[in-house]
Amino acid sequence: MINKKNKIMNKKNKFRMRKNAIGYTYLILAISFFIVSGCTTDETQTVAKFTDLVWADEFDVDGAPNPDYWVYDLGTGINGWGNNELQSYTDLPENVIVQNGYLIISALEKEESFYTSGRLKTKGKFDQKYGRFEARIRLPNGKGLWPAFWMLGSNIEEERDDDLNTFQWPFCGEIDIIENAGSKPTIVSGAIHGPGYFGGSPILKEYDLVNDRVDTGFHVYGVEWGPDYINFYVDDILYNQITPSDLPNDPFPEDFYSTIYTDSVELELYREKWNTWVYDQPFYLLLNVAVGGLFDGAPNEETVFPQTMLVDYIRVYKGNFDNN
């Protein structure tokens, strides 16, 4: 009982610290605002604040994840979820369970080179445009482990149905709040994948924890997302900002997409989206631990299984934007 009480107290303290951190962030943004305003004439710009907690899972109820919040992705997807990933996702407690205040996603080697793991998403349960999206996570370790906390545009079209209101990946947009290659225990990265910059060439930046690791303790990984920018954080360190000016301008691959989207109206919709900023619509959240795949390659003989990702909480704050 004492432990439980301490835990609650710790959480309260953490929340207080979080508020302090937001204050600090506010300060940083305020400073950058003054710098920016020194060389622009945009006097209408306001400071972004992400103080209203609108959605959170503290993982305080033992058992399966809250079904009002989470949906399982199951199986192996097409071509290993598009990345040659080796695992099969299940909804078994051995792969996904809430215990002692943590969501635990475990990657298991069931037999030689056959792995199971877990992938959760809030699709159809929760999505939001703009805001602060953060999670406190301890990541797994070892070559071939590929954990991620990320988001996809809610207008993703998962199967071709010629619906002109939905778009196939990467036209729906993807925000990778944090990914880690298990063979690099001090390096994380944040990225966006969208039309014209995806797969092997996303807009990505790495962050080195220096004198710390992803697998020995918890870190808060988050993005603060507003109109025309996404800021990437590890703990209280802002390490990257991506804006529309970072988008590439390669030509639309007409030959490739014209074979997929044979309807000229539809093709035009995709052509218009090429190299554009698609982060102005609601996104939903995903959490998973992949094994193998293009990010860190396959596990090797030194990789130890099982490996676990522990998530202490996920919190989503609203931004103070007119169009939020």
Partner: protein, 471 residues
């Protein structure tokens, strides 16, 4: 004894520390510093060993049989600052010493408990493999020696990280650094080390200790057997590399499922005390080590007959406690041809101050004297003596065939001699003196390289002792 005293001192001071805090809480005196009594009687926690010169109190102690002047301070080559440590590895046959090797000791000892690794930069005059490098070698008990083996060196400066298996053990460590390196293919060379220091990297993680190579071993044994346990610690470094070091036995805490049968002391030595079974496992810093050894003690050991007293000049001994032995490559070659099943022999059992070779699951096995040691020249010898204990009941048709092979891999000749069931004794020793002329076909015995024991599975378990040629 010294160490024990310090532990008690620490415990005593620690309880003082708790007391002080409690008092402070109740009297609401958080602002006050802890009283002087709460300060640990610690040793220097200085991190630096060699940056541009020796840290204070450090001495250089070369190993007795090494090239004594291998080390110098070099102000030409350096990674940073003004100087580096230079090590000149001798050529093969150098009269001043066969290898370079030394330990750098602190006069009093340092408290290294706040660090997680010894680090340094190293480069060499040619690509080479540094045999052994580490710390904890104090020329006394060497209780907490750590060794990184076979470190690849190149002509560029490279940072080497040697993780500390369990820093809490090193509250007074004298051995700051040690190394041993021989010539590369007979040729000496030079390597330099700079920025040698202990660090708290914060990225040393995922400990995976192991004993006995991480293997679950089994050994049939007898009362009085001593068996040393060796261990390693593996950490995942910040680079993602898994770095494995040899960790001295005292880093581990051992447990035996039956201490009446097998007891382990803090230096990792198992002693068999009674008949029965026991499994020994170990823990390093709270983590269960991979690997174990299970003993089945068969009770009192029936020693081999003491061999007849001969003039040592008339004996070439392969394995006995009665005569000085020649060097051997191995007592079990573990031939990787997929046919050999024989276990044991590596190392021999150590019982009551003597040694005996214990082969189990025998089909065939060989003792080698041809790889890294000189072959045996038995030209002047007339007989082979061997004591064999068949450690099971004897069946009709059982046999042990001895086979001697001369000039292995070159101009091979061999001869064999079969000991049949009329000579062998079930569950008892037989002493054999076999004329070398009975090894038919062995025309040359000037370069004997392999001695085989072959049973073709007719006999599975034997003990072998007192193997020597004589005249």
């Amino acid at each position: 004894m010294k160490n024990l005293k310090y532990i008690y001192l620490k415990l005593f001071l620690f309880s003082g520390f708790i007391f002080t805090i409690t008092v402070s809480c109740e009297s609401n005196l958080w602002e006050r510093d802890l009283s002087d009594e709460a300060v640990f009687a610690t040793f220097s926690s200085s991190a630096e060993v060699f940056i541009d010169g020796f840290s204070g109190g450090l001495s250089y102690d070369p190993f007795g049989d090494s090239k004594l002047d291998a080390f110098s301070v070099d102000d030409q080559e350096k990674y940073s600052g003004t100087a580096s440590m230079r090590f000149d590895v001798p050529n093969f046959g150098d009269p001043s010493g066969a290898y370079a090797g030394a330990t750098f000791r602190d006069a009093i000892g340092r408290d290294l408990t706040d660090y997680d690794a010894l680090t340094f930069y190293v480069k060499a005059s040619q690509s080479a493999t540094l045999n052994e490098v580490g710390f904890g070698n104090d020329f006394e008990e060497n209780k907490y020696v750590v060794t990184l083996n076979n470190v690849p060196l190149s002509t560029n400066w490279t940072k080497i990280i040697i993780p500390i298996p369990d820093p809490s053990k090193l509250f007074r460590e004298r051995g700051m650094f040690w190394y041993a390196e021989g010539p590369e293919n007979g040729t000496g060379y030079t390597f330099w080390i700079d920025e040698l220091k202990f660090e708290k990297l914060g990225t040393i993680a995922q400990p995976r200790p192991a004993i006995l190579g991480g293997v679950d071993e089994f050994q049939e044994t007898f009362i009085g057997n001593n068996f040393p346990i060796t261990g390693t610690q593996t950490f995942n470094l910040g680079s993602g590399l898994n770095q494995t070091v040899s960790a001295a036995p005292s880093y581990f805490t051992y447990s035996s499922t039956n201490p009446e049968v097998a007891r382990v002391n803090e230096t990792g030595m198992v002693t068999i005390l009674d008949s029965g079974t026991a499994k020994v496992t170990a823990i390093l810093d709270g983590v269960l080590a991979e690997g174990s050894i299970s003993f089945e003690s068969l009770g009192e050991f029936d020693s081999a007959p003491t061999p007849p007293d001969r003039n040592p000049g008339d004996v070439i001994s392969i394995f006995s406690d009665a005569y000085p032995n020649v060097q051997v490559d191995y007592y079990n070659g573990f031939f990787l041809d997929g046919f050999q099943t024989t276990k044991g022999g590596a190392p021999p059992l150590s019982i009551g101050g003597g040694e005996v070779i214990n082969y189990t699951e025998l089909n065939f096995v060989a003792i080698g004297t041809f790889l890294d040691v000189p072959p045996v020249n038995a030209t002047a010898m007339t007989h082979l003596h061997v004591d064999i204990f068949v450690n099971e009941d004897l069946d009709s048709g059982d046999f042990i065939r001895l086979l001697l092979l001369n000039d292995v891999g070159q101009n091979e000749t061999s001869g064999s001699f079969t000991i049949d069931d009329s000579t062998l004794i079930g569950n008892g020793w037989v002493s054999l003196d076999i004329p070398l002329s009975d090894f038919s076909g062995l025309n040359d015995r000037s370069q004997l390289g392999l001695l085989f024991f072959i049973s073709d599975n007719t006999i599975s378990n034997i003990l072998v002792d007192n193997i020597y040629f004589y005249r």
